[in-house]
Symmetry: D3
Subunit: 69 residues, 6 copies
């Protein structure tokens, strides 16, 4: 019955990687809190780098700066 | 003033169906809690089936299994 | 499998009223989108009026102004 | 370390405007609560007007009505 | 930089169990997507059983029915 | 009509500080995107430090380590 929401930047996560996040979070809740995996819901939001900021900077800008190094 | 967020898988909900969810949730809050419909906000997130898991399984996989039955 | 989140101010909603919101939202999704009610999850967040703003004003202040009228 | 989520309708916000929201929210948290900007995360969700309702009406419809005036 | 939100019912999760969820989700994102753990944020919401529904039923009621079996 | 959600740790933010966040976010959206302040909704979630993690560590632990320095 738990609900898990991942927010990550949209930078090429594959379907298989997203499936691993879903399995991993479901297992984690079962192992730690004995939550029934059958009703555990996991939702992954992939967010454009233009729409994500950290440290007051847009991620698109941070990625460009890193690439330029 | 209430805020309602629906998360559903992106599987072809029409504009009319989404309008019904918006009206329905707004009416529900007015009927049950006497909330002013004018300031009730409803947001619907449609999530790719690759990004939604239940029971540790990706919905894309579950849909394929059901189709194969 | 859908997920619904209501955010309302904490102003005395009863357990029965919250149960009605849960039933109502679950029914709505079944009626409009044929969603399986068994796996529909509804979460209600009750938020202190000090922590909710509309029109740039804190709800606590708006309630006080209304009461003074 | 704070987390800020903006939800706005998808109606042409530019990358520069979104960068301003990110900077503005990060500054606000530093000014008001002395939060370390380095770990402040801001996520902007742009929502289709078909998926946003207010007053029981879909925003797409409201925009059309306004345009017709 | 990813953000993870767990929503669980408030039913006695200990501080140590919550710490395990935080470590586990952070590790999962590093292992699967090579995300930098330093900026991974995890927030756990514990929700009263009166405020959580599944299958149209309030969890408080479901717990009582199970206890009566 | 925009919706803003702040998540901060519960560490003594005053009602006045929360009012400043509400005003500040509402002004920001008006200034940057010309959003109507009347229908801008702001919700502040204050989260126990036991329920917030960064870098795989619970904030409660981080605060204790900083205090010991």
């Amino acid at each position: 019955m738990p609900y898990v929401n991942f927010k990550i930047t949209r930078e090429g996560a594959t379907a298989e990687q997203k499936a691993e996040l879903i399995r991993g979070a479901t297992d984690l809740l079962q192992r730690v809190l004995n939550k029934n995996p059958k009703t555990t819901v996991v939702v992954i939001d992939e967010v454009e780098t233009d729409n994500w900021g950290i440290g007051g900077e847009v991620v698109t800008t941070l990625r460009r700066q890193n690439a330029a190094k």
